[in-house]
């Protein structure tokens, strides 16, 4: 077998293990370990098992994930966000799927604070899902909404992926950030359209509010929204005034949530303890998967599979449309198995020069690529956003159920991708205007 064939065989075995319900992290680590052994030898296999897990977890950057998780869990257990959702329910009662729509808007707002979609999903997950379930939303819609909405976190600036792309492609990060605004907003509205259409077609999914709500009720409901506004004010204010970076925003958010809950009088020992334990459970189950995904990237790097796929695309020839379709397929395929940074590292060295020669704007492509990689975050079998939501909802929903709930949002993503390709101005308008 050639190296590339071994790479694809490894993917096949990985799929089989996952189907047999081997924990995802174990499946990834095992296939990568034995795969590297076969490709390069035992020394490199043992080496990667020694080097990668520690160096991956011992990361300042990743610290925002447990911190945003903690903030979300604290908000939930101390009831900080309940008032906000009650208000949203009353104000959006006429809109089909109002709470889900409020969740998407919440994620889009949160996206301006965090640079990663996992952190965004983590923060929104524990806040939004139980509130939607409390109002008898279908679990698939509730969980699918948050997992998908989390991807907006990497599209609307700041964005870790765009920073890395900017460095690799040598294009201005500020232009990518501006371009991300258009793609992020289009995605936001695409997801809202999905929710409205689904709720219209099947009101069971998101039961409309039947009680009479007077304007007075609506205004009164606003009184209980102060904890969330205070939290948002603190996090946004600190970020934009230069007090902290997005990497630090999670910890500050969690600390603020603790203080607000204490002031509000809803911070009990039990709620604090539950928030901490859930943070630990979710972080550990998420990190072991991310470590496995990181090892899989090295295995595929050794196998040359990324080069092989990229070369196949370049062999398609000069037709720009065919090139774009080929590249789209590659990223949808890689996105199924790899985490975004790995997929980027494996392919960009070959694809960037090709795109540059073909005359595509590398700013436009960077934003489109981010969109593709974010789609990968919610496609089976390895979808990190889905796993975050699975972690925060526990037994309320299976991973299969969450993936099914996401299917509809993927349809919207398909439209968004086609629109971004057909009308590059959606991305390039702001960079051209302000750059």
């Amino acid at each position: 077998m050639s190296d590339v064939q071994i790479g694809f065989a490894g993917i096949g075995i990985l799929l089989a293990l996952i189907a047999l319900r081997v924990p995802i992290g174990v499946s990834l680590i095992g296939v990568s370990f034995f795969g590297i052994w076969v490709l390069v030898g035992d020394r490199a296999a043992w080496g990667s098992l020694g080097v990668i897990p520690y160096s991956f977890a011992a990361s300042w950057h990743l610290s925002s994930v447990p911190m945003f998780l903690l903030m979300g869990f604290l908000c939930y257990h101390a009831g900080l966000t309940k008032g906000m959702f009650d208000a949203a329910r009353m104000w959006l009662s006429r809109l089909p799927g109002g709470l889900a729509i409020a969740t998407v808007f919440g994620a889009a707002g949160f996206a301006a604070v965090t640079g990663s979609s996992v952190a965004c999903a983590a923060a929104m997950g524990r806040i939004a899902v139980p509130e939607m379930m409390r109002h008898r939303y279908a679990p698939s819609l509730a969980t699918g909404t948050v997992a998908a909405a989390g991807t907006i976190g990497a599209l609307i600036p700041p964005s870790i992926l765009m920073i890395l792309y900017g460095i690799i492609a040598e294009v201005p990060i500020s232009q990518l950030f501006l371009g991300g605004v258009g793609a992020g907003l289009l995605t936001t509205f695409g997801y809202i359209a999905v929710i409205v259409i689904r709720a219209k077609l099947n009101p069971e999914l998101a039961p409309p509010l039947h009680e009479e709500v007077t304007f007075r009720d609506k205004v009164l409901a606003l009184r209980e929204t102060w904890p969330v506004f205070l939290l948002m004010l603190g996090v946004f204010g600190g970020l934009f005034s230069g007090a902290f970076t997005p990497s630090e925003a999670g910890a500050v958010g969690a600390a603020l949530a603790t203080i607000i809950a204490a002031v509000k009088g809803s911070l009990t020992w039990a709620s604090f303890r539950d928030a901490l334990v859930e943070t630990l459970l979710t972080s550990a189950s998420l990190f072991i998967i991310a470590i496995g995904a990181s090892m899989l990237t090295r295995f595929l790097a050794f196998s040359g599979a990324g080069d092989y796929l990229s070369d196949s695309v370049s062999a398609i020839g000069a037709d720009p449309l065919m090139l774009l379709i080929g590249i789209s397929l590659i990223y949808l395929l890689l996105g199924m198995f790899l985490e975004p940074i790995g997929a980027m590292l494996l392919t960009l060295p070959i694809l960037l020069p090709i795109l540059d020669t073909a005359g595509f704007s590398l700013i436009w492509f960077g934003v489109l690529l981010t969109k593709f990689l974010e789609i990968g975050m919610i496609t089976p079998p390895i979808g990190l956003n889905v796993f975050v939501i699975k972690g925060v909802v526990g037994d309320l929903a299976s991973t299969g159920l969450i993936f099914r709930g996401i299917a509809w949002f993927l349809v919207a993503d398909l439209f968004v991708v086609v629109a971004l390709i057909a009308f590059p101005q959606i991305i390039l308008y702001l960079p051209n205007l302000l750059g």
Binding site: R43, S48, G50, I167, I168, S174, G242
Partner: protein, 356 residues
């Protein structure tokens, strides 16, 4: 023999340029194959243990990431401010890189031992150009330097920030962009190469040249795994050794050339370039002088390095030697590589080097 070479920087970076050239030189002069993995195999932090454990055969190692493991090498690297004080040359990195390389190869058996402990064979050093201030606010006078927040990547630059009355802030490489964009730091201290390397053109508004000075010398350009090294034939080892002389020179030259280009481009991108006052330069030079004692103390106490004072004097002497020898080599990597070979690497006994 297939050599896997890891670079924790993306294609387009100076480090990638040098190691890609290395791979080409190795393939052209031997029957070996060499493949360079840019970022996809090992990142900067993973590279030293990654080479030790054989994930990659060779790679671009930054010893400062592992202060305990490479204490002796880092002592020499910490003296980089010597390259920019005293006699001024066009590209101080050429002097510092060659001085480091001679020091480690010929005068510092402890250095070679610590590379050996990491299961690696040292093959030389190339460096960055001069560290200067990249700021979001203009720094024109001594008074401007006060009460600013400085991003410093190393202890000596942190002490410089405190000496001028500012605050040192630790920000990892990937966070610098956001930290400068949002004003979490006022000035970043690094070489002008990073304007493109880390895409900092967008967020830099003012550059003050010459200060703090110093270069980034904590580099082992292409360390190789000891088992890989031992498995090679003597002829193959010589090919790699000669190619390494060139890749060390390439690192220094490419970093320098990119910095020069970036400083040329900066005004067109709306960045004002400020010359520091005499007073600022003098203050910085005096700091370097007094900081040498601090370095000696720190490496003796915290790192357990013996005879730190004598080692510092040796490195200082070598820096002066190579300032004279390399002063016309700023734009000539070929001549610099030849100097590395003639003055240093040809004096290493390849029949035993790295095989003990």
């Amino acid at each position: 023999q297939d050599l896997k070479i890891a670079v924790g920087f993306p294609p387009g970076s100076a480090a990638f340029y040098a190691l890609d050239n290395l791979a080409k030189n190795i393939e052209a002069n031997s029957d070996m194959k060499a493949k360079v993995f840019a970022l996809s195999l090992l990142n900067l932090k993973e590279t030293p243990p990654g080479i030790r454990d054989g994930i990659a055969d060779m790679g671009f190692v930054l010893p400062p990431y592992y202060p305990a493991e490479y204490a002796e090498t880092n002592l020499a690297a910490n003296l980089s401010m010597l390259a920019t004080t005293g006699e001024q040359i066009e590209s101080p990195g050429t002097a510092m890189g060659a001085a480091m390389t001679e020091y480690v190869f010929l005068h510092c058996p402890e250095c070679l031992t610590e590379h050996k402990r990491m299961n690696q064979v040292y093959l030389g050093t190339g460096t960055s150009p001069t560290y200067i201030l990249h700021c979001t606010t203009p720094i024109r006078t001594m008074a401007d330097l006060k009460n600013k927040k400085y991003r410093s990547g190393a202890a000596n630059f942190g002490r410089w920030a405190e000496a001028v009355g500012g605050t040192k802030v630790s920000v990892p490489g990937n966070d610098i962009y956001e930290a400068m964009a949002q004003g979490v730091v006022d000035c970043g201290m690094f070489s002008a190469t990073e304007l493109t390397n880390l895409q900092l053109f967008d967020v830099t508004k003012y550059i003050t040249t010459k200060i703090p000075g110093g270069v980034f010398a904590g580099v082992a350009t292409n360390n190789i795994n000891r088992d890989t090294w031992a498995d090679l034939t003597p002829e193959q080892r010589e090919v790699i050794f000669k190619a390494s002389a060139r890749s060390n020179a390439d690192v220094t030259w490419k970093y320098y050339a990119d910095a020069k280009r970036n400083l040329n481009d900066a005004p067109d991108k709306g960045i004002e370039i400020i010359e520091p006052t005499e007073e600022m330069v003098k203050f910085s030079n005096d700091f370097v002088e007094s900081d040498l004692k601090v370095i000696a103390e720190q490496f003796t106490n915290d790192y357990g390095v013996d005879n730190a004072q004598a080692k510092i004097e040796k490195v200082a002497e070598l820096v002066d030697k190579y300032k004279k020898l390399t002063k016309d080599m700023a734009d000539d990597p070929e001549a610099l590589a030849q100097l590395y070979w003639d003055e240093i690497m040809s004096k290493v006994d390849l029949t035993t080097y790295g095989l003990d």
